[in-house]
């Protein structure tokens, strides 16, 4: 149901989510982020432009990394969320805990500022 692509630009690991993140596909998202961390990336950008839907389990994945990233000084920025998807982040209150931007350029800019 979901397709996750990873690409690296200027030391930033960009993880693109294509499709829907539900209970079962959230495991793939978790693996992708864990892999990125494992490979030593400190700047992770999640491209949500093609993410159609995210279930609570998917949100749980992002949530579960918040503390870990804080400890390890890793930064994560999400961008390009559709309104409906953004809404689920907001209702839950997760939007305030994550860095969410409109596009990639802004995201990169933010992540570089954060990393200083």
């Amino acid at each position: 149901m979901v397709h996750i692509k990873r690409l690296q630009e200027d030391g930033v690991d960009i993880i693109a989510i294509v499709g829907e993140i539900d209970a079962s596909s959230s495991i793939e998202l978790d693996l992708a982020i864990a892999k990125s961390v494992g490979e030593g990336y400190r700047k992770i950008i999640i491209d949500c432009q093609a993410m159609e839907y995210i279930s609570s389990a998917g949100l749980g994945v992002f949530m579960s990394y918040i503390d870990e990233f804080k400890d390890k000084n890793i930064h994560m920025v999400l961008f390009g969320m559709k309104e409906r998807v953004m809404n689920t982040f907001s209702i839950l209150g997760l939007a305030e805990l994550l860095h969410i931007k409109n596009n990639k350029v802004e995201s990169k800019q933010l992540i570089n500022e954060l990393s200083i």
Binding site: A57, G60, D67, L92, G93, L94
Partner: protein
């Protein structure tokens, strides 16, 4: 029915009696003959007794040898050998006695000689009969109707001959010659049945040859002894009952000898090929082991081990390895008489030389590539044969066999190993399918439990008050979710309400939900401010929830004294509120993060208590995202707007009716009874101070 044991004893006793009478009568007759006295006993008595002796012994051996199912081929030969040994020892003991007696007068007596002769004769016949019965079993090992008939004809003819001997009637020579020829022919035809030899393995064949050789020795010994004695006897008198005077005895003797000779030769000539037979048999057994390994063994590993063992033994390889690549990058190597290092050396060598047809399928495997392997100094193997193991057209591993000899694998071996690896693939595939089925079954079972737990956590009845009425609905999808709602009366003017949604699905969600229920029931009693409730709930949950799990909830306290609702929203769907006064409805805007998301103590900064006053006719709709995210056939979500408009259609109805209408509308919208997520809603309708509003037309 007399049992078998008794019959055997009876037969033995009969034989012994008949033998004694035979000896005594024969001696008496001989004695009278030599001394010229008229015989007291009829001359036919010894013959008849002999017939009786043979028949009794026949039955004795029949019970003892023929009907003993536990005997295998070598056991049969062994029993013949053993009886031969016993009889020979008895005969030798008699000789020893004669030798010890020295030259006493008794020895010169013809009567005594006859006794000795008869003893030896009896023993010999007994041995012949034992062999006869054993051979019968061997001949009839793989019987056909025709063979059984032939055998019975042979047996009956022998009986006829025995009777003929006993009655001592002389029919013309011509007829007896015909009978003898017929018997000889039958014996020859029957002696051609040697199928049992093929079932002997190499070692058994050697044992059989030895046992047969000893049998020959006994036969020769008795033949020599009896003939010698009878020669000495014939010189004195011809009235005694002798071996030669019958047709039965020579016939029996020739049959036993013929079959022994045949067996001996057949076994001897079968010796060189027996290894091939054994190998074929082993292949069949190994093949069966691989196919059955799934039923009997519990894991894939044993299938791999059986495959390795079977392949090695079937082609007598010197070493082998089985490499299994699993999807999750774990790599397993099963080796046989080769170190893992050497195996990987050889593999890397073959791969580096880029040799075609070693590790890939569908090529001529008979090339043994000895010259390439010779280049690898560290190995002594010169032949390699490798096959992939495929499951669902995907190669899961390779089986590699090695031999020290160059060109050590032939086409036949290639075929066998190929069959083995194919069968192993099928076995593993079956095993995985079975495992999957088990898993599914277990999962379904787990879901059933989770569903029961979830159902039991929801309240059977909801709180009631003069000021409001509550109706609730909850239906879970096949995949159990974690929706929870509940009410509790704090005191006479305060009632607490909760609606919550546990992230994730299945058993974990159901258990988290039960934790939430515990928290609700313990904290709500304490008359906490909703914000405080959430802070404490978060504190309690944060270390209990699984990684990545959280609970979204909204907690309400309805105060009927103040006519106010105090609530805190922790990441749950915003409340839909209908105000009767303005006849408008909308979602309450507030902030608050879900429970379990923030581990630090500053969660209190992320949640707030909100309050609003309620009036008669107001409606509060609590729901979970299963409702707003329910999709129609086109994939469009039910959404907040539709939820709002649905409510507006029924503002004048009771809470129960509003709920029914909403759920009805929802099912109508999705067009199916199969829901993807849980549908949970709780409707609170306020009555309170001005009941009149209810009747006011909109």
């Amino acid at each position: 029915m007399i049992n078998k044991k008794a019959l055997t004893r009876l037969a033995f006793l009969g034989a012994a009696l008949a033998w004694l009478i035979m000896i005594l009568s024969d001696v008496t007759i001989l004695f009278s003959d030599i001394n010229g006295l008229p015989p007291d006993l009829p001359a036919w008595l010894p013959r008849i007794m002999f017939g009786l002796y043979v028949v009794c012994l026949f039955y004795y051996y029949k019970f003892k040898i023929e009907h003993d199912e536990a005997l295998n081929f070598t056991d049969l030969l062994w029993s013949v050998f053993a009886s031969g040994l016993v009889f020979t020892v008895i005969s030798l003991a008699v000789r020893l006695v004669i030798f010890l007696l020295g030259t006493t007068t008794i020895l010169t007596l013809d009567v005594f000689k006859d006794v000795i002769y008869q003893i030896n004769f009896g023993l010999w016949v007994s041995f012949l009969l034992a062999a006869f019965i054993a051979w019968k079993r061997l001949i009839l090992y793989q019987k056909s109707k025709w063979l059984i008939r032939t055998w019975y004809v042979f047996e009956l003819s022998l009986l006829g001959v025995l009777a003929y001997d006993g009655l001592n009637i002389s029919i013309s020579d011509a007829i007896s010659k015909v009978v003898i020829t017929l018997l000889a022919l039958l014996a020859l035809v029957l002696s051609a049945n040697m199928k049992w030899v093929a079932y002997l393995n190499f070692k058994q064949k050697w044992t059989s040859l030895l046992l047969l050789l000893l049998t020959f020795f006994y036969l020769g010994y008795f033949f020599y002894t009896v003939m010698n004695l009878s020669e000495a006897m014939t010189a004195k008198s011809t009235t005694y009952f002798s071996f030669q005077s019958t047709i039965f005895n020579p016939a029996l003797f020739s049959f036993v000898v013929t079959y022994s000779v045949f067996s001996f030769l057949v076994i001897l000539f079968n010796l060189p090929t027996s290894s091939v037979f054994e190998q074929k048999l082993e292949e069949v057994v190994n093949f069966q082991r691989i196919s059955q390994s799934i039923q009997t063994e519990q894991n894939e590993e044993s299938v791999y081990n059986i495959l390795l063992e079977s392949s090695v033994s079937s082609v007598s390889a010197d070493a082998a390895w089985l490499e299994i690549q699993s999807t999750n990058e774990d790599h397993r190597l099963f080796t046989y008489r080769i170190s893992e290092k050497e195996a990987s050396d050889i593999r890397d060598h073959v791969k580096s030389k880029n040799l075609r047809g070693v590790f890939d399928q569908s090529s001529d495997k008979t090339k043994n590539l000895s010259k390439h392997l010779a280049q690898l100094k560290s190995t002594r193997y010169r032949s390699i044969l490798s096959f992939p193991i495929t499951v669902k057209e995907e190669t899961i591993g390779t089986l590699t066999l090695l031999k020290e000899l160059p060109e050590g694998f032939n086409k036949e071996m290639t075929r066998i190993v190929s069959t083995f690896s194919n069968q192993a693939g099928i076995s593993i595939e079956n095993f995985r399918l079975m495992e999957e089925a088990f898993q599914n079954e277990r999962y379904k079972e787990e879901l059933k439990i989770a569903k029961t737990v979830q159902k039991s956590l929801l309240p059977e009845r909801l709180e009631k008050d003069n000021d409001f009425e509550i109706a609730a609905f909850s239906e879970s999808a096949d995949e159990v979710g974690g929706d929870y709602y509940d009410t509790i009366r704090i005191n006479d003017h305060q009632v607490a309400l909760i609606i919550a949604d546990v992230s994730g699905k299945g058993t974990t969600a159901a258990f988290h939900m039960s934790q939430m229920k515990g928290i609700f029931h313990s904290l709500a009693q304490q008359e906490l401010d909703p914000k405080e409730f959430m802070v404490r709930a978060n504190q309690a949950l944060v270390y209990c929830l699984e990684r990545g799990s959280f609970i979204s909830a909204t907690y309400f306290v309805i105060n009927t004294q103040k006519k106010k609702i105090f609530y805190a929203r922790a990441g749950h769907c915003p409340v839909l509120y209908y105000s009767a006064e303005t006849n408008t409805s909308g979602y309450l805007k507030d902030r608050g993060k879900a429970l379990g998301m923030i581990k630090s103590r500053d969660y209190c900064n992320h949640v707030e208590t909100n309050e609003l006053s309620y009036f008669a006719g107001d409606i509060m709709v609590l729901y979970t995202d299963g409702i707003t995210e329910a999709k129609d056939a086109k994939g469009e979500e039910f959404g907040l707007e539709m939820l709002n408009s649905t409510l507006l259609q029924t503002t004048q109805q009771s809470a129960k009716d509003i709920e029914r209408h909403l759920i009805g509308r929802l099912y109508e919208y999705t067009g199916t009874k199969d829901i993807n997520d849980d549908y949970t809603t709780m409707i609170v309708k306020f009555a309170g101070a001005s009941q009149l509003i209810d009747t006011k037309p909109v």
